[in-house]
Symmetry: D4
Subunit: 196 residues, 8 copies
């Protein structure tokens, strides 16, 4: 969201998504009926600020190289400095254990692709494989994103565009509402399971 | 056409193609019977000048990242600054809606390849897939280019070398007539449908 | 500040600097007497969120290529997409006029260096030239940063490490208090002049 | 001019410059009093088309590596394929003789810099050296560009932004009128001498 | 091992692995029950020093480009300067004959991949092909590494992470014991055959 | 051959190959029974000198981009400056017609791979496809290279390592005799057909 | 020393230098009178192993970005991950305080160059500046290296080729004895001062 | 000479230069009075073949990194694999002693520049420094090249374009006669001194 659409620092959200920006007190302006614009920098920094102050720990400058498995479940991630790969160095990674992993890496679905390639078990998709993002059909995609926001492998949720890329649905238009709602849904689903 | 053949700023057209250069009043010289040379810079800039003055809007420095679909039809393109990809940045694209899209990106068939990979429906070729450009057989290819200049997916026409790359025909020699005639044919086909 | 010290997402501020983090309600923990740590992501995103919500407009993905001058004063900046330079393209810039320009680009002093090279007038330093950052002497540097936070050319203020790089003082240690206080001082100085 | 301002395919010219676009029948729209916009692609391709049809021979994909001198005068240029340098190859150049050379390479003043470095004689500037482009001061620069459009070394004229870069004047704003008028002036000055 | 875990120059070994560090008199410290840390530089340089002094000849700066085959056996390697490939030069390799080859190139299994691709015979794995490294499951992987340390093609042993990558087992955690024990086992297996 | 083995400017030929070096009066020294060394620079430049003086026309700095086909035969090559691809430019190629084409591009079999991919007809190999170079088995390979030196597609001969790469035989050791004999055989085969 | 001479893993030491290899029990062979060869891998790894086991702490993968000064003395170094610069990231460094710093970075004299450029005080050389390495004169250089192994700035010693690069003496031949003796001398000089 | 002029494999020599091509029996064709063309590949390979067969030893793929000095004379060169620098490796060089060194590296004067920068003594030019190549003035340059073919530093001769670059004369046109004659002169001068 940081770069807006084609580097114009403005994002568009539909009415449903605006509710989330309102919760964070981010300024919006009605652009046309049902669509609102917001400053992309204000939106990202405010959500990030709230998240970190609520206790989220962001490991900046770090990439996921692999996942940790135990029996038939993902139980953490194998991380390394992003700079290590960028600089072409050979340095061993470290591990972080976790009850749930969320892949919200968008089109790239970096974690799900590692699981498909290296874990040797089926994903929870129709084919058991990554089904791939389809071309853009914004209306349908916004709805599908929410439906597809769910567990894609034991211990791993997908959110945002990664949900559609995993379960084979359409690309969203440059309207960020579905993405925000998807994140909220993923958080609630995991919270419910953590509270059990 | 801009770079001529192997960077020599001269292009060759056969008699049929010369008619189009004549329409634009571009100077040609008979090279051998039925073949004419023209200055590649003069040819490209003059055609481009006429096109823009006739109302064509060229979005310079922009690449097509994806297509927009509605039901079983392409209804536009998803664009981004070419510089964004060249610089390795992660910035969201914007959309442009369109009644028809023409893929005239030559050997690369950039739009058709996206459709084949991401739309999940058959192309209008014999195999339903991109059939691929064959090696060079100039005579046959010049004719085939015109035949292959047609709709390759609902809402998407192919023109120039992209036509042969899509429908699996031969590469044209360094003679630009078939390419010019193909563009003209694509324009006429779409015009007819727009006027309906 | 985003990357912390050597990619560890933690920053250190001394007592004076902590006051500013407190104003933004950023969590700090006493590390040793007079020194406090904070999460670098929380600190940056929270300050950025407050700034944008207070009306600061951040033009993301944009670089300053040149300055605008009128008589003997800088009256704005000449900007371009950063991606244009990263991709090696030749594209003309646009201009933004401004009553004051603040160079807070750190060691690089990108704006001041352009002025030194291209405006053809003396800077307000002892030598009239950029005096250059010296090696690290944290205690002295923290104090000097505040002193050096002032107008360095008519219409242009320097803040943070850019202040010491311009006026030739020492590099600060990896303690971010002086930087925060310098920004605050620059803001107050300019506010006073804008209100005149 | 091709990339417009910051990749927006629109250029601005003031009233004086509009006269030249009018001569080429390029569409303009009044933007604010005395300032007109035009499509950058239409403007460039139309001027290029007229130039080539009037007999200008453009050697595309070629760079100037050096100049040819005879006594105290430049009498041509030493050229090579631009691809040779881009690919890091070592290939010898060829020569093109010419009664006059125009350096219209903008900020880079590629020909003048070669002369300053390699010919071992003074330029016709106040200091005998390249005086360098100053920061942007649009109004003054537009006027100075015309004044500075003149012979800068025996046999070599400078035009457009190269004129100010050579004679040490300000950078023009993103308004292209001065550039067009400068090209026209250089052409007339040389024509007069060729006709002698 | 040289870079430690994520560039922190510290390695961890479990009790079994510690025995090998003890043999080389490398300092270790108990970190938690059954796990010991050592300095990665001390560990690597000490083992390397002992190996070379015991007669191992290390060809530094050299890569394996291909293998030598005789009937159905690998009998050596085809080597070249690594700098030749890094610099994109075309230079012919040389050969080194050997009774046994050990592929200890880790995740990359550089020698085994050449054999799979170019020798045209099955590997000694369940599928006859490289079975691929799975995601991380440290406990299981440590044990499997030892089991998989064996002949993978006539004349070629695999050791360390290359063993699991060849025979399709899990990735080891950032604990280096299994790797050390695997090397020892490979050495013993080959020694037995050389002595026959 | 120019770079020798691993950049040592010395080549090795066996007795059969020495005959060809003798024909060109290139100095050789017996290294061990049946094997001779020669200076790689002397060998390459002398053969090249004789070839050009005998009328061979070498187009330096040019790559083969595609082949020309007529019915079921290759009748020439489509060439471009190598610098064009190295510099990432888009420039159209030119054609050269030829009664026979010899692919002597070694491991890369650049022409044969284009035919396999783009002509859409079987090669004259057992599988109709490129069978691929196998690992090194010098003795067998030297003999096979001669056998495999033949027509691989109507109008296209393969010589040197390209012969084994096409017909699926072993890699030759760093002994250049087979390569020289293969070139001689290809020349004689084509000569016979040209004389018909 | 790791890469030997031109990638041949062999080093040469003269008689004086051999004494140090002997101390570490590194195998040497007399090559000609007074000159001995050793395996470069054995030499480097053995010295490194002894150093780390004697308590030297090597921070691998780390570069020196700047020095710390207090009054007129260097009191430590400012370090960062080398990968940060290699990957073109902007990340703040950390500091390490130290009673003495040794610049043994060879021709590059990385620390001394920072001091010359940023500390703003004279070095202890004849000119107060870096005097620069001269071309190779092995005999003279070996002796000068020992003489030049001394304090070059308060708190900073130079050793090995860095000594000659700082004090302006000749380059040593590919004989490593002087380098070893220089390191020993630097260690002894600092030890004496630490013991005071 | 290998790449001809702008990649056209043809070179031009004037009458004086033709004599040398005649000596090597290289075919030439009169182009215009006093000027002859030859095939660049034939010319280079034939001269190289004769040179190596006459006993010249060419070390291919090797660069000169430094010179060896003894008192006030250059007595050899310090060489390294070119691939080492291209690949960004740190590997020590080796030395080659020589009674005379000829710098024939053209515009780059690689050896002379090392001497100017590192030996700390004057060159035998008017200023004691490299005087630099001037722009192209073919007639004058051809003559000056012969005059400037002489000793430029004790033990070091310059030949070809390096002669003019050292002694500050004009660039030669793309006519290779002066270059050939310069090489011949350098050879004769050195021969005379070697015979003393």
């Amino acid at each position: 969201m940081w770069g807006g659409g084609m580097m114009f620092n403005e994002i568009v959200v539909q009415k449903d998504g605006k509710r989330i920006l309102d919760e964070f007190d981010i300024k919006t302006a009605e652009f046309e009926k049902g669509y609102y614009t917001a400053d992309s920098i204000e939106a990202v920094s405010t959500i990030c600020s709230h998240a970190t102050r609520a206790g989220v720990k962001i490991f900046n400058l770090v990439s996921v190289e692999d996942v940790i498995v135990r029996e038939k479940k993902v139980t953490g991630v194998v991380i390394n400095w992003s700079a290590v790969e960028m600089a072409g160095l050979h340095v061993d990674p470290l591990c972080v254990q976790s009850r749930f992993v969320v892949d919200a890496t968008g089109h790239a679905i970096e974690v799900i692709k590692i699981i498909e390639k290296k874990v040797g078990m089926d994903l929870m998709t129709q084919t058991g494989k990554v089904m791939g993002e389809k071309s853009m059909w914004a209306d349908v995609a916004e709805k599908k994103t929410l439906e597809n926001t769910r567990e894609a492998f034991p211990g791993v949720y997908v959110a945002g565009m990664a949900a559609n890329a995993t379960f084979g649905s359409f690309r969203m238009g440059p309207i960020f509402g579905g993405m925000l709602l998807s994140g909220e849904k993923a958080a609630k689903l995991i919270l419910k399971r953590l509270r059990k």
